[in-house]
Amino acid sequence: MVSTTSQGRQTPAAPPASEPLAIELRGISKAFGPVQANKDINISVHKGSIHGIIGENGAGKSTLMSILYGFYKADSGTILINGKEVHITDSQAAISAGIGMVFQHFKLIENFTVLENVVLGAEDGRLLRPSLAKARKLLKKLSDEYELSVDPDALIEDLSVGHQQRVEILKALYRQADILILDEPTGVLTPAEADHLFRILQGLKEQGKTIILITHKLREIMDVTDSVSVMRRGEMTDTVKTAETSPEELAELMVGRKVLLEVNKAPATPGAPVLEVENLTVVDSHGVTRVKGIDLHVRAGEILGIAGVAGNGQTELLEVLGGYQNGTGTIRLKGEELDLTGSASDGQSRRARGIAHVPEDRHDEGLILEFSAWENIIFGYHHDPEYQKNALIMDNAKIKKIAREKMERFDTRPLNEKLEAKSFSGGNQQKIVLAREIERNPDLLLIGQPTRGVDIGAIEFIHEQIVALRDQGKAILLVSVELDEILSLSDRIAVMFDGNIMGERLPSETDERELGMLMAGINTGADAAQTGGA
């Protein structure tokens, strides 16, 4: 373990002496109303290098890069590209300066074709058809060159996220970007797709392009970057050469204290099955079959981890179990069958039967951001007689008291139940959701992406809580796209791909490589024949 060092700041990723600076940001500051998103940030990136940026959620990474791309305007500071000061007033200026950016949330028009998305804003003349024809040719060339094949006439909404990302990269290349910024590009990719992406980035780098990569994954930083900057609470804490640092050091720079990257847990002592799922099929509102007749079970005192790339049916699985998506098949809780359609199939009745659910998306599902913390603490349980004053009126005073107690037990900061949920940081928001669900002492806990968007410090705490619940003999179904998390928390791992369970593994008997293959739909294991075609 390397101790905290400031050497990086004095010798920022010493460049191969001849390479000039592609990007230099000096004293960038940006406030959104009362929130200071960037504070006096300096950063330099060498031409032809891959530069990583890491930091907790809300550290200001996306904001900084959006400023570089002209999406936001900095309150103060200067930007130098290739040594010359440029005034990036809007994205057009950034594009002319040779900058391209792939945003965390893609900026694509869903019902336009790939081609239309690529030429949008970079057309050659007033008429469309010549531009499209030219783009078609160029696109073909680009995709051959960089292994970026996509059907130019496909609608974006019909493409997988991986392909959508390719379109975003093609957009940048089509505009002849020399500097490419990617904001958390791998969150939605399989390990194989991610590897593919990194090969592309490597190729671009060899052509002399400069790449900035924002990510939460320390492994990616270690694997592909040349240098890395760490941000915390709007400030740049350090810039180091990748070769001279370690994941532990980076983690510490991010949160400002030492962090345990491993979970300490005793071996499981599973009991009787709590949840049994048989032949579960889910068809979504567009008529697409999302879950294709899967079987699984979770026993008391056990964590079943479901690994998989986002969008392979895990979300729908959780939704059906949580009661707000219809499905067909059989689900039994402690031997009793649950309704999968109709009026007895909703969040309320599931909760009444002892199923708690920490949803994947806390902003859109788990919380009402405009509600205060105490109102969120009863969300979904607001029919509980404990919270009522009489048949009509809720007992708000009592709810506030209970909320405060729960928040205290979960070390939520600031400890103010009257604050709106949106004023809490990501980690603390997640703690509010967990406090609500875990404190109910459920028989089965469904938990999706427990630490998505949560920084390393809070991850530690959340993991401890999950393990503690398991040790009380509860059944836990964990869905996560983070392989590290799956591997370190689960007692058993099932991998989902394209609505099927590709296989089940014990954490002790598998590794990231094998899971990654399963996540990509490739089963080489012993159970290949039996589940692969299900």
């Binding site: 694509l108 869903e110 239309e116 949008l120 057309e123």
Partner: protein, 320 residues
């Protein structure tokens, strides 16, 4: 029903559909750019008033047209100020525009002409003349084609032909030009347009300019047809155009059919005020409410789902 009656009903349909079509296309441009526009009614009224007033004073409907377009544009820009620049609620802004138009036209009209908000009657060059297309007389003897050409195709005012021409032009602009691509994009996902280096604000204002011009034409058409302005003379046509727009699923050619359909319904309703089916007489009120009922039925998805532009109704806010 003989052929001539049918022709006359169709002819009436064209006249009634013209202002609807122009207004509907105005709404199309604005909503395709993501600006919901329930202020169409107000713009229509404002344009009808200004064109009527100026056409009377100058004796030229073409000058009236300019003034009508200017009035409608001014309202459009106010809508833009509220909903683009200040990111206000587009629906509220539209409601306010309708109030303003209903009040201002009468207040100003009264202080100009002292006729209770009415303008004096227009005559001569103060109105659009009917255009008789070549050979309409010579061919009128040819069976079927002759009367059709003479009655239905020929003999409308310039604005009718402009309105019909506006349909392919709108289609071409939307689907064949760079501007159209960007306009459609900004109604779907403005931040994609922004990050592609194109100004969302500029595009949306341009869309409102087009909408303003088209509404101006529609209002002028009304003033010319009725030979002057009468208070509240838009009589809900802005709302019907909005309904037609949904009906048309925000597409130019469909807009033509939708407005023609509404025009036809009205034309039939005018001619056959109460239709008897056996002993049952369909009440007039039903005939009058039919376009609205139809819209609801269509909205209910019985005839196909209408998916509005995705970013419609929401201001583009980058920084909370």
């Amino acid at each position: 029903m003989d052929y001539l009656t049918i022709l006359q009903i169709l002819d009436s349909t064209v006249r009634l559909a013209t202002p609807l079509l122009l207004t509907c296309l105005a709404g199309l441009f604005s909503e395709r750019a993501g600006i919901v526009d329930i202020g169409l009614e107000g713009k229509l009224l404002a344009a009808a008033f200004m064109s009527g007033a100026v056409a009377y004073v100058t004796g030229s409907i073409w000058l009236g047209l300019l003034a009508g377009v200017a009035a409608s544009l001014a309202f459009s820009m106010l809508h833009g100020l509220a909903s683009i620049t200040f990111k206000g609620d587009q629906l509220i802004s539209g409601v306010a525009l309708n109030f303003l138009a209903a009040g201002l036209t009468v207040v100003i009209g009264q202080s100009w002409f002292a006729l209770g908000g009415r303008t004096p009657s227009l005559s001569g060059n103060g109105r659009f003349g009917e255009w008789n297309l070549p050979f309409s007389d010579a061919w009128s003897k040819i069976p079927v084609f002759g009367p059709t050409y003479n009655e239905l195709i020929s003999g409308h005012t310039a604005l009718t032909y402009i309105a019909i021409l506006a349909v392919p032009v709108s289609w071409w602009v939307l689907y064949r030009t760079r501007f159209g691509l960007r306009l459609r994009a900004v109604g779907e996902n403005p931040s994609a347009v922004d990050t592609a280096g194109v100004s969302v604000v500029r595009l949306r204002y341009l869309a409102l300019v087009i909408a303003g011009v088209l509404c101006g034409l529609a209002g002028t058409y009304l003033a010319s047809l009725a030979a002057g302005f009468v208070k509240d003379m838009s009589a809900g046509r802005g709302y019907i155009a909005l309904a037609a727009l949904i009906f048309a699923k925000w597409r130019p050619w469909y807009a033509l059919s939708a407005t023609l359909l509404f025009g036809l319904l009205e034309a039939i309703g005018n001619r056959y005020q109460s239709i008897a089916i056996g002993d049952f007489v369909i009440p007039v009120q039903f005939m009058q409410a039919l376009p609205y009922i139809l819209t609801v039925v269509i909205l209910a998805g019985f005839i196909g789902k209408a998916i509005p532009p995705r970013a419609g109704g929401t201001p583009y806010v980058k920084e909370r």
